[in-house]
Subunit: 169 residues, 2 copies
Amino acid sequence: MTTPRLLAVEPLTRAAFLPFGEVIETEGRASYPINGGTTDRFHDLAPVDVQASSGHALINIFRARPVVEPVTIRLLERHPLGSQAFVPLSGRPYLVVVAAPGDPLDPQTMRAFLASARQGVSYSRGTWHHPLLALDAESDFLVIDRGGPGANCDEVHLPDEAIRQLAPR
Amino acid sequence: MTTPRLLAVEPLTRAAFLPFGEVIETEGRASYPINGGTTDRFHDLAPVDVQASSGHALINIFRARPVVEPVTIRLLERHPLGSQAFVPLSGRPYLVVVAAPGDPLDPQTMRAFLASARQGVSYSRGTWHHPLLALDAESDFLVIDRGGPGANCDEVHLPDEAIRQLAPR
């Protein structure tokens, strides 16, 4: 097999990520004072979308081993019944690979982002994404997703011509 | 007014916190491998309880100024329509003050805990609690709570005899 084509790794911004979900960060977001002015609330940075299913939202922690670079993207998954949010707890950047929601997966829509240690992401319901890609060391992430009955994970192995290697950062 | 009586600050453990909600931590919790074994999932550390209301769950960030010690507890609040979870993002311990759910507030049930930088808390629906008590420096917390119609914050100013000063740590 030939070496996979490269996929550029972009900085993570709200605008660039909008087709896939929300960036959970305070940078550039408005806040308002609460608790007698001792606290600023950055309100509703991302919705937890489990409404239309019989499920409910859960809080979890995922502990991810770091990737070995260069990273090759061979599969993506999606959760048809709810959003899934990841917020880094270990103070390290990480990689995010997504493709537009839709059936079947269109590998042409695949994008890669470098998230900073101060950025979480929420994948909208149905957004295709790669499992966690931690960098440098084992890293914990707070994860808010859906529990409940029903099949909530579709996985697709990319055809050979759609496999990509992430470009050097 | 006389000096308030002291309230001991206990270490935060799941067992001690059970009457008030959940401790969100990996310590002592089971996990199972996901993502081809590259990640451990600590599943369902806390529920997000917005089911019985017309609301929905939200992800927010609260930025709290640090307290000036000693801390005097003069008021508590509760959210009757949903749970509220706080997970520290700034790598610093913080204080948690709670009282048992119930109407009216029973100040005799008030407890204070020192949470580590690796412990989040989820207040069960209706658990009385003090607003954020960050320590040492301005600190960000990821907050998962309820949005939607209806009055979801009751605040009670403690009568003089119930006011407490947190004991030195």
